[in-house]
Symmetry: C2
Subunit: 342 residues, 2 copies
């Protein structure tokens, strides 16, 4: 895409952009909502500006409560989040939401739901909602999602939600970025426990049985209790509380907030919270390392052609991929020791 900017000499762009960014950061630090919005857009774009912003504001982060909301599609995650936002706002707290959208071009439904919610809170200056494309190419939440959370935290929002949209691995990954993970399930969401199979049971700090006025809520809760007994206890994890809500009517939301508070208190004790945050940082750094190394690898035209050749050899079955890997890594390390910073 060619924009007008492309025609301006690179140097002047960089100069004016540096000024812009400094100005943006100043306004961000002064609590300007528009600056947060613009900073989030730059974070999503990545690159130098994004790092410059993070560099300047990250020292302010760490005070927000980070809540993850996940669960099978149709369980009512957005409705639960909206109901929680209303309660938190009544209590005078400011709220941010990072809605993690699966990397899919088919997100009509998700975006629509978001738009409806954004409308409800559009005039509320204490609520900030942003959808982000979901996944890092190498798995896990995308770096941009985690950076956006950091940014909302640094902006001074009291509560920051990370909410997954639809199905996908991000449902589990979200737990790796927050202090408390709410798993929302309803009697109608797929086959109950079946829908929780892929790791969601293990990441739950709290179960929210939503649409609890529908048939099957009792059975669902019984199943949850049963499977909890079967699951191995992590020493660090508390048996998750089960809270019933009917979020569309605001039912059970106060109880849910109390349960969240109890979990936060539990995490505060014996250094659990800082331990979890440290683990989350390590996980994020690990993913960033892998992505950086991959970028370096494929940034080299020699490595790209070595790679293509290896694929060709595997295709005609002259060499296994396993054998190719060793050779490619060796070539990469030999070559790149001189110009790693490129």
């Amino acid at each position: 895409m060619t924009t007008e900017l492309d025609l301006v000499p690179a140097v002047s762009i960089r100069a004016s952009s540096t000024v812009d960014i400094e100005d943006l950061i100043e306004r961000f630090l002064a609590g300007d909502r528009l600056a947060l919005a613009k900073a989030l857009t730059r974070i999503e774009r990545g690159g130098g500006e994004s790092e410059q912003i993070l560099e300047r504001v990250h020292g302010r982060a760490g005070r927000a409560i980070r809540l993850g909301v996940t669960g099978p599609p149709g369980a009512g995650k957005s409705t639960v989040v909206s109901a929680l936002i209303r309660q938190y706002r009544e209590a005078g707290k400011t709220v941010g939401v990072v809605a993690v959208d699966p990397s899919s071009s088919f997100t009509g439904g998700a975006l629509l739901g978001d738009r409806v919610r954004m409308q409800e809170f559009a005039t509320d200056r204490g609520v900030f909602i942003r959808s982000m494309a979901s996944r890092g190419r190498l798995g896990g939440l995308s770096g941009a999602t985690l950076d956006a959370t950091l940014l909302m935290d640094a902006f001074g929002l009291d509560i920051v939600f990370i909410e997954t949209v639809g199905v996908g691995q991000s449902e589990i990954d979200v737990a790796e970025a927050v202090d408390t993970t709410l798993v929302v399930i309803s009697p109608e969401s797929g086959d109950g426990i079946q829908a929780l199979k892929a790791g969601l049971m293990e990441v739950a700090d709290l179960f929210v049985v939503n649409k609890c006025d529908r048939e099957g809520a009792d059975r669902l809760e019984r199943e949850l209790l049963l499977t909890q007994d079967i699951l191995d206890d992590h020493s660090e994890k508390r048996q998750p509380e089960i809270v019933r809500t009917s979020a569309a009517n605001g039912m059970g939301i106060l109880e849910l907030i109390e349960a969240i508070d109890r979990h936060q208190e539990f995490m505060q004790r014996e250094g659990r919270l800082s331990r979890r945050r440290r683990e989350n940082l390590a996980r994020q750094l690990r993913a960033m390392l892998a992505e950086r190394m991959e970028r370096l690898f494929f940034g080299s035209s020699r490595m790209r052609s070595d790679f293509e050749e290896a694929v060709r050899l595997a295709e005609v079955r002259e060499e296994t991929l396993h054998r190719a890997v060793g050779r490619l890594v060796q070539n990469f390390l030999d070559r790149d020791s001189q110009d790693a910073s490129s």
Copy 2:
């Protein structure tokens, strides 16, 4: 776990193991089912033996038709696969199934389903079913899953299914390992189209509307048609056919096989199949490279302690993770150019 073997000196283990592997490979190449089973176990374990087996047999692969079966939980994926197996067996074809199990300790339901199916085909020497733990740590299907598929192919099975169990990213990844992807959905699986949101629409080569005798099948099919119109056309992808089945009664299975055949014919034309297989190989190699580099990185005690230090600095907000990444990669490449093969 200490076994008797642990007490035998390492050298003699290696010697006898090499003999065993050679013997195993011979029997594999002679079509011995037990040898396939044992080879799969070694593939799952990974390491040198696994690579030795692949090295010797991979030249035989490439003839099987690889079918991916995915979709939301509860749609009846296993029932559809079982019904297809029965048909293929009647047509005299041999069949392998790699059931991809999400990396979760809570897989009671999935395994149970598998056992039931394994019982049905237990006495049929033309059917081979194996469950594999699902995911590579860096995303995508685990290397072992892909190697298992290769092995079944090389063994000479005519059809090899990769089938996902439960929810998770592997639902989408499976499409990256096969020639034809069947997305199974039922009027009962979650909120219909909602359940397909995370990329499943895009990867489908065929839609299987299962449990088509239940209420809502017409509506589901209409929704599928509608959303297909919305989705961008990939030039390489054909508009997926929609086939109705009631797999539990064997209804629609012949029609499904015909639709699979039509898709295979489509792929055979204009080099589409070899193009897809080449892309799949490239994707696999890319994942293997990332994993190998990560292993090298964390295999170094100096890099591990640099990494820990970076996490500590991020925790106390003295340095952003973005800044740490550059330094760590530089240190890694400087250091490891000498001993990359370690």
